[in-house]
Symmetry: C2
Subunit: 874 residues, 2 copies
């Protein structure tokens, strides 16, 4: 026969699925001999059975519960409903996965009109006894009998007024008895039956209420948000009550075994004499720091300190504990692994390795990759933040906190920064003309634009804090002022923004930063020892490359050559190239661009030294470089001295209905091989130059984008090889380079065997692969994706985390075919997924060589890659 | 040791790869005892060897050739270079696949200064002998020695002028001797050596020239255009010369065993007394019909007639033959399967089955699917066409010939047609407003717009002839006139257009049409017996459905519901639906659309009876229904009484960067389930109504477009099922329907197992699958695709014929996964590829249930499906 109820001494921490987290931990504590009030757990299977049987508890289960109850009575030496020394219990839910505050709890169960007398006599504290009874009826009425809480509150408040007392605890036993009578009357009026006096009946009602609470709205919503399956069910814990409010020798507390905020290795928490947990939460009395417990209850404090150590060693992790002292005796009510900040997670993990408590692998598993970002960007000092005034919320467009004086255009911002001011650039929205101002600023704040607006994308690229789309702002760029909540802020005023949260604060708030050194550096070193996947960065210029290098990137996985062309000095030449009518004219314009392009590569090689740098040839459709409004075209016409009509005609001819699927990528190189030639020249001559000047061996990796057919690749390879070989020969050096391709078109993945005959490496461009494989234009379908997430059609945004079922299959096919044809082929990923931990786990399992992500995600990727290796090893 | 040379009596017709087409056929004719001048064939392997060895013929091969030459001399009883009766030979190329006129031929080889005397004596015709010698030197000088032909012509013309004769054949033997001397001098001056007198040297030179000709520019281009591999190589045929120009008992002719134009079973060809083939080609003398040979050479004619029958029976196909009568003796010089018109192909195939010559399977293989279209559309009467004046060439936008009076706008065209005129609608370009005019017209002619312009797409859909993008036309719509080549044509003037050729003719040209009856009907019946693949049609309205039904479609594979909304009466309601701010407003507008939608389905069901009809729910992005210029919006604003600003705002909000990958397909149904509900209602109520009225059982197939994730399908299925079940229940009937999906997003193909859990059928939307799988927007990349075709990156336009390597792989994956999950799943294809024979062959091999194509392609598909089954059986 199945067993549905376990006494605390029958379970263990490994039975979480069956007993729930709380029940398993109570059993575990009991097992290792800690002072836990005895009790038993009704399993999650019983909960599922309850639902299967149409929300009923069958006879067999009732019998089993009563059996365990009898055992509890025996262990405690008390009887349910006893008029001398009644057994009181708490009834608490406990799911396998923690759902804090999501379900209901009932305390003091077992009290009735008789037992309350016994309790009063026993404790010699009638006020305590009646207050407990009154609380029990109220909780039971609300949770089990489902009578609105406000109706109880009314009765309570009426009596409080009558008694003319300010605080609840000033009510006399008589007042409480009146309230109890009122409560019972209320219940009878509402339901037509009396408040149950039989403790067993009370208990069964409470058990069913806990089962029911598994499917209340709050719980369902929480599970949906946290991806917890509904089939798990909840367990019910029935435990003998202990009281922290039995006078000055009693008390209650919650404590962490270390500081969950910064990880310091000493108890952290709060304690309150003569109180129950409820009182702490209700905020009626202010608890004191746990350390002060040593003064009041030195013996119990010492005992608790020892228990905390025992639990830490037992669970091998920081613990979050609840305890009660009842008339001088310490009882442990709960323990669980503690939630903690990134800072604390890092310090604790490293400390515990040094203490010999956990292995490096375990330490590496202790930090959530998502938390890493917090460590890299400046954060507001928590203490200072408490006093700050929140002005508005926008989109968390680029993480990190910044504070500075506000300026409303790029040149003002630049000037102020040059004078040594810290600047926040405020714009309606930014455009490429604002670039210099963005570089000069500490952070960017815009009133319009989404997560993929210019401000957001550029700021993320720069690693600068940005809050975008902050629609509560009225920005008057001309008037150099902004209005939030009817307050005007003018040029030079201080604001603080937090791009991790999307918040805007008034005035200055101090910031702090963890950086790559210290404990975090140590943890990263361990991660590097463990991981098998390489980690590179996407960087388009020496500045980003340097940032990536400092964050531990082992190379550049994607250097986009086109971003370089948007620079003010360069774009006129690039536009001339686009507007050329003949190959000769195009070659003329390209000649002007060549030195710039080479200069960038020189800078990147100098930073990366012998680490690999993958440079992608020109990718975007040419229309992106030509303005699209008549006004802008008119201005451009004057600037570069080409008739407006010609410009307009060219702009129209470049227009495409679906530019995503249009004339871009290698298709440009096939139509205009001279562009690829120029780029090859810049890549190769820069490499020759830096190899010589630094005395190192650089092996550039040239990447051809948007290949769908091996013949496209072959065509461009011939162009690149022709130029490269000529230059290498002319320089009289012996330089190697690799030529590979993006796998970003579904057909490329499907024919990767053919492509691997020509390509020496693949880099999965999962952005485009997702767009084409799913038929979702990233620029257009943000709204649809949100709708899909809301309707449960998508579990995750496929542009954030790789769709492993669909797009992942394409990657797997390509990896398999590519390796078959060219066993040593280098395989990378350079879409934005490259920095997503789940995707990194997938890349590890699929056998990729490296992931490449934005510089600020490099440490995340290093950690996630190590965790993937550890998980696989298990 | 490998054998590189075969005498004609050593080979057979099955040795085409080795001996080339001509050589194999000469051997075959020799084998079956026909009078063929003896000779031998140097194999294609020898040609490849020649190239492998750096364009050299090795000793062993020379010896082998000389051995066969000795045999030839013996058989003919003549010696090479003999001064009495010299052996003369022709040297002809002959590749495994016919490349007409692509390579060079040399006649009269073996003549030299001595042999010419023998020939003169023997034939008693010095003019003939010297003329033969002069022709030989000229041909040899041109082909083998590579001296420009014009230089020989100069010498010839100079002498002709000196002799003061009008025709070549009036030159005297002395004139010819002077020319010969001049030719020889030219050669010596050009090359520094004498024209070779040794016939063996002549022969080896000619053999190498033939080998070289395999790689001349013409040949390479032809192979490229016709997809013939360069590794095949060419054979060389060396054959004893016979002369049709040896006087009045000699002659030459070419003839087909049946009429290649209409297939009538009697000899068809031309004959010329005392002439060589060359003379016929040169047009110096006019040949007579082959039948007249019976009068001149009754005996030889009878013999040839018999031989023609023998050859037909032997080759089991219509033959195209060349022969010569030399002094009363008939020689066969060549035979090959005849090229023929579609009409002739059909009649011959059916006749031959009736004659017991070939099987039905063979008959079905005899018609090229590409030829079928010619049979379905009206064609100009060939005889009348000869006399017509070609005015201009545009794009062959929609096949078929038409003639009528020209009108310049839709309403004039409608009016004229209503009065019984045949009308050609002439427009700069057409727009949806011209629809009524297009319906009324026999054909459409536009000055602008490509193969996918409105005119082209709509005309193809209607099966009407259309010439689009005819840029030579100046169309003055207002002035009701058009100008071609400085001639003005006014309203009411007659023009004839051929949409198969893209040609425009002056005046009226009579048309003819084959239709589905007669021989073609018979052949189609046989095809239906053989094929395993079903054939359905894409049809959006009862008219197209009727056409499809008449062409033998076994159902509708794709009924696009959105085309119905463009109708003048309906589009205002549809626009109101789009512009609605609330679900209620949308439901209001949908209520107006419902009756129209239902009416269409009723019409289609009435045509198709119990044949399956697959109806696709709304697919295109909504912006397609809203005008995009401010002027049009302004007009719409007045028309539907909605403020311009609101319209403009909505139009902007509907704008997408990549609409192809945007808010369309099932995504619309997920955002606006009420649209899917309305469509489901129309589909189901129409089916219930027609089932009742016709007393038949209709099982509608409801198809959800653009599914990439099974959850999308499930979501829409729930909506459709909800409505459908409610309606079926309310009607009190027992109706079934199927619900399936398009597979047109790569992810759908990759996760077809998941999708097949919900979908009862798949229909491959290979247009979108190609766009997304290849990353090519069809609207944008026409130019790139042409460039790719020119550069050899694409072998075929992937939108015309399915890319079997890439997109085909997706189809295969989906078929495999779909069948695994749901073994009986119906699998169709409804992209435009559904009418392409190569794609149909692929669909057959991949195990699809049916293909669906435009009505006019249904017969092509029936034939292609049968051919696929036959090919597989082999």
């Amino acid at each position: 026969m199945a067993k549905y109820v376990y006494s605390f001494n029958e379970g263990s921490k490994d039975m979480r699925e069956l007993l729930g987290g709380k029940g398993a931990n109570l059993a575990e504590m009991t097992k290792i001999g800690l002072p836990v009030p005895f009790g038993f757990t009704i399993t999650t299977e019983a909960c599922n059975k309850y639902y299967e049987e149409g929300q009923k508890i069958d006879e067999a289960l009732v019998d089993e519960i009563y059996e365990k109850l009898a055992e509890l009575e025996e262990v405690m030496g008390k009887k349910f409903g006893d008029t001398e020394d009644p057994l009181l219990v708490s009834v608490r839910s406990g799911a396998p996965i923690s759902m804090p505050g999501m379900m209901d709890t009932i305390l003091n169960l077992g009290l009735n009109d008789e037992a309350v007398l016994g309790l009063a006599k026993l404790t010699n504290n009638p006020r305590f006894a009646y207050d407990s009874y009154r609380r029990f009826i109220q909780m039971y009425g609300d949770v089990v009998l489902e009578i609105p809480k406000t109706k109880f509150d009314e009765i309570f408040d009426t009596q409080k007024k009558k008694a003319n007392v300010r605080f609840d605890f000033l009510l006399s036993p008589e007042d409480l008895q009146i309230i109890i009578a009122g409560y019972k009357e209320l219940i009878k009026n509402e339901l037509g039956f009396e408040f149950p006096q039989d403790p067993k009946e009370q208990m069964m009602g409470a058990v069913m209420a806990v089962f029911r609470s598994w499917n209340n709205e709050r719980a369902i919503l929480y599970r949906k948000l946290n991806d917890i399956p509904g089939e798990l069910g909840t367990a019910v814990n029935i435990q003998a009550m202990v009281f922290g409010n039995m006078g000055e020798t009693s008390g209650t507390g919650v404590a962490f075994s270390r500081n969950p905020s910064n990880g310091k290795n000493r108890l952290f928490g709060e304690f309150l004499v003569n109180a129950q947990g409820e009182d702490v939460v209700a905020g009626i009395r202010t608890p004191v720091e746990i350390a002060e417990m040593a003064n009041v209850f030195p013996e119990q404090y010492a005992q608790f300190e020892k228990i905390a150590k025992v639990l830490e060693e037992h669970y091998r992790d920081m613990q979050d504990m609840e305890f009660t002292v009842e008339r001088g005796k310490l009882f442990m009510l709960q323990t669980r692994n503690a939630k903690r900040t990134a800072l604390a997670a890092v310090k604790t993990a490293v400390d515990m390795v040094e203490e010999g408590l956990i292995t490096k692998e375990e330490a590496v598993m202790r930090l959530e990759p998502a938390q890493v970002e917090n460590l890299l960007h400046p954060m507001f000092d928590e203490d200072k933040l408490k006093e700050a005034t929140l002005l508005a919320k926008g989109l968390a467009a680029s993480p990190g906190a910044a504070c500075g004086q506000i300026y409303f255009n790029a040149s003002d911002a630049e000037k102020a920064a040059a004078e040594g001011q810290k600047v926040i650039l405020v714009r309606l929205e930014t455009s490429p003309e604002d670039l210099a101002g963005m570089v000069a600023a500490e952070g960017i704040l815009t009133a319009r634009g989404g997560m993929t607006s210019h401000a957001a994308v550029v700021a993320r690229g720069m690693g600068k804090p940005c809050v975008s789309g902050c629609s509560e702002l009225t920005v008057r760029e001309e008037g150099r002022e902004l209005i939030i909540k009817n307050r005007i802020y003018r040029e030079g005023d201080f604001l603080s923004i937090d791009g991790t949260e999307g918040t805007v604060y008034e005035g200055k708030i101090a910031t702090v930063q963890a950086g790559m050194s210290g404990n975090f550096g140590t943890l990263m070193t361990w991660a590097d020892e463990i991981r098998k996947l390489g980690v590179r960065a996407n960087a388009d210029n020496p500045r980003d490359a340097k940032q990536a290098f400092e964050f531990g990137a082992q190379g550049i996985g994607l250097c986009r050559t086109e971003h370089m062309f948007f620079d003010e000095e360069r774009i006129p030449h690039f536009r001339k190239m686009i507007l050329a009518d003949t190959e000769e004219e195009r070659r003329e314009a390209l000649k002007e661009i060549l030195p710039y392009q080479k200069e960038d590569f020189v800078g990147i090689y100098q930073v990366m030294k012998e680490l690999p740098v993958t440079i992608r040839l020109l990718d975007p459709p040419l229309h992106e470089f030509i303005p699209n409004t008549d006004e802008e075209l008119m201005a451009l016409s004057r600037e570069i001295n080409i008739p407006f009509e010609k410009l307009k005609k060219k702009a129209l001819s470049l227009h495409e209905f679906n530019p995503m699927l249009g004339h871009r990528g290698c298709r440009l190189a096939i139509t205009y091989p001279e562009i690829a030639e120029m780029q090859a020249e810049a890549i190769i001559t820069a490499a020759i130059e830096v190899s010589k000047s630094e005395g190192i061996e650089i092996v550039p990796e040239i990447m051809i984008p948007l290949v769908g057919n091996v013949k496209e690749l072959q065509y461009v390879k011939d162009v690149v090889d022709g130029k490269a070989k000529e230059l290498i020969k002319a320089a009289g050096v012996n330089m190697k380079y690799l030529l590979g391709t993006m796998i970003e078109i579904p057909r490329a993945a499907l024919t990767a065997d053919e492509i691997a005959e020509v390509a020496e490496f693949f880099s999965f461009g999962t952005n485009d692969l997702t767009q084409m494989g799913l038929g979702f234009s990233r620029d257009d379908t943000g709204k649809i994706i949100n709708e899909y997430l809301a309707k449960g059609i998508f579990e995750e945004d496929p542009f954030q985390s790789l769709d492993q079922t669909g797009i992942g299959k394409l990657v797997e096919i390509a990896v398999k075919l590519g390796k078959e044809k060219r066993p040593g082929i280098k395989l990378g990923i350079c879409g934005e997924h490259g920095g997503d931990p789940k995707t990194i786990d997938f890349c590890h399992r699929t056998g990729l060589t490296y992931v490449s992500c934005s510089p600020f995600r490099v440490p995340i990727a290093r950690l996630a890659a190590a965790q993937a290796a550890i998980k696989e090893g298990k």
